[in-house]
Symmetry: C2
Subunit: 334 residues, 2 copies
DNA sequence: TTGAAAGCGCTAACAG
DNA sequence: CTGTTAGCGCTTTCAA
């Protein structure tokens, strides 16, 4: 049996209240008893039972994190940031991988409810009504990261997707490209799909290149799908000399396709990615991309949730973090 | 306030024991009351408090997972497998990323202790005495995945590293390579470092190629380090025509270095990796590698821990899973 | 400064 | 079949 507060009390020859006090308000206990209690705690390797504490405090000091795909390096960064923030703020973290499955997501929310997590961070996926209502129904405070909600009043932290996409495409245009295509996220099951497309369109229009607006194919988060989408894109628009990919993984799929077709990158076609995953510096060629402050996004999300938990609201509802263009080798020189 | 069992009882007009019964032994309650209780539960979105339950059962139905590096795709696979097994077995999962930091690892074990996790899976890292003693001191049952312990009696699941390395090197030799180098894990802070080196040596000796035994450089888990190690390896042994890398990430680093030196892969040098990460099929060239059943390793580790938790011991202490050679494009044709 | 005792939400005897 | 009651381990009044 794990030792309880009673065992410590007995060993130290004091009452359980005294033991409790040395843990929560040490200076209300005289030195002599305090040190005896500390010794006993040490000797028994006593650790207060989190269940008993939770029952009283009605807090678990645990946060939940819902991510769509743990095999996507993007989320590894978010997790690291959030985990570091949790350590700083005194929370434990419960990470759940939903695979973008509704049943599974809902069931994880149940688990969070049952384990009484203090709050949850919901990453990237779209906040479907079912999710929102379940979270609200369970009275679980939550914030969104790499996502936002137009329908509901929910705090969020993300990058300015429209602006970032605009910057990427503008960069391509300034490199001299006139025939530019895009591999995007489907608009109906992603939150950054529409704004990134909008940024693509805005840059094109600004430079009188609107004829490219339709040169877009969509993929569903993974490499293989982007490979396939590139195939469709280039079959239909062989004149393309540049592609804006809304994810680094898409850029890799696109480059892979181009390579199989013996089309040189960046010699014949420039490719720009999005995210700046750790992998993007390892790929051949190294990816030119729009960097998101991934780690910071996770860190900030945890802080924001903490703010919500402790003050009942957040100072800024829809927070944007800075993105940055990183020029490497997959785009041609000026 | 979240509703308690009392609220449900009141609304359904029964005692709290009856409510408890419909949750734990439904058929001992008459249909009429049972359905009234179910309705009340539904209406209030009642979810039993895990703290109160934990206090009684002395079980949290939560497992802990300690991984060294969440940004390594290898662990993403382990996590998925373990998470699926947890769903099947009725556990929640608490994942902690140690960054291979001792302080941090020890502190996570404290957290696990405090949250009363039922058991923990410890991944890949070496089981230092401090870890072992703390875990045992806290009376937390645990198993090792992608690791094992020679010193202690601890259950583990992994691949046969020596045999897998042997197979990789033998494959290279059978391709006709005579000058073979290796990029390995440091022997003092990794568990698979020594056996993989041993497999390298055995294959070499078996084919009378022991002169290559010293052509080894070491790196510390990441791409950049492998890039640097390759630089050292090829500066010292420019005659090399093949390299056995003990991780796919090392293979990518090596290929990246070779590419920067304008050495063709597989034209001039064959490179074989280890793990078969999802990335290895996305890289250019696609990696020839030794596949580990990563997902299954995670799944099996959770099952094994469950076995330990429920029966008090495991049928097989040191379990090995099958590896497989995957031939793709980074090795030359025969 | 300290101890006794109530109670957090739930389960499991024990009566009825 | 159902209700009453005694804890599970801890914190927190309330007295002493």
């Amino acid at each position: 049996m794990k030792p309880t507060i009673r065992d410590v009390a007995k060993m130290a020859g004091v009452s359980i209240s005294t033991v409790s006090r040395v843990m929560n308000a040490p200076d209300t206990v005289v030195e002599s008893k305090r040190s005896r209690v500390m010794e006993a705690i040490e000797a028994l390797k006593y650790q207060p039972n989190a269940f008993a504490r939770g029952l009283i405090y009605k807090k678990s000091f645990t946060l939940g994190l819902l991510i769509p795909d743990i095999e996507n390096l993007y989320f590894a960064g978010v997790i690291r940031g959030m985990q570091d923030a949790c350590i700083k703020l005194g929370y434990s973290l419960m990470i759940c991988n939903t695979d973008r499955d509704k049943e599974r997501t809902l069931s994880y929310i149940d688990t969070f409810h049952e384990k009484q997590v203090d709050g949850v961070v919901f990453a990237s996926d779209v906040l479907y009504t079912e999710y929102y209502e379940k979270l609200v129904g369970c009275r679980i405070p939550f914030v969104l990261v790499s996502s936002h909600s137009d329908e509901y009043e929910v705090a969020s932290v993300e990058v300015d997707d429209e602006k970032a996409a605009y910057d990427a495409v503008k960069f391509l245009i300034e490199l001299g490209h006139q025939e530019i295509g895009m591999i995007g996220f489907n608009h109906d099951n992603s939150v950054s799909g529409p704004p990134r497309f909008a940024g693509f369109v805005r840059a094109l229009k600004e430079f009188g290149l609107e004829r490219n607006v339709e040169k877009v194919k969509y993929a569903n988060h993974r490499f293989e799908q982007a490979y396939q989408a590139s195939h469709e894109l280039f079959s239909e628009y062989p004149e393309l000399t540049a592609v804006f990919c809304v994810a680094d993984e898409f850029a890799m799929g696109t480059i892979s396709y181009l390579k199989d077709r013996n089309i040189l990158v960046p010699g014949q076609v420039s490719v720009i990615g999005f995210d700046n995953l750790r992998m993007s510096g390892m790929f051949i060629p190294k990816l030119t991309t729009i960097a998101q402050p991934i780690y910071q996004l996770g860190y900030r999300a945890a802080e924001k949730l903490h703010e919500l938990l402790t003050t009942g609201s957040v100072a800024v509802m829809k927070e944007k973090m800075e993105h940055k263009l990183i020029v490497r080798e997959s785009s041609r020189e000026k």
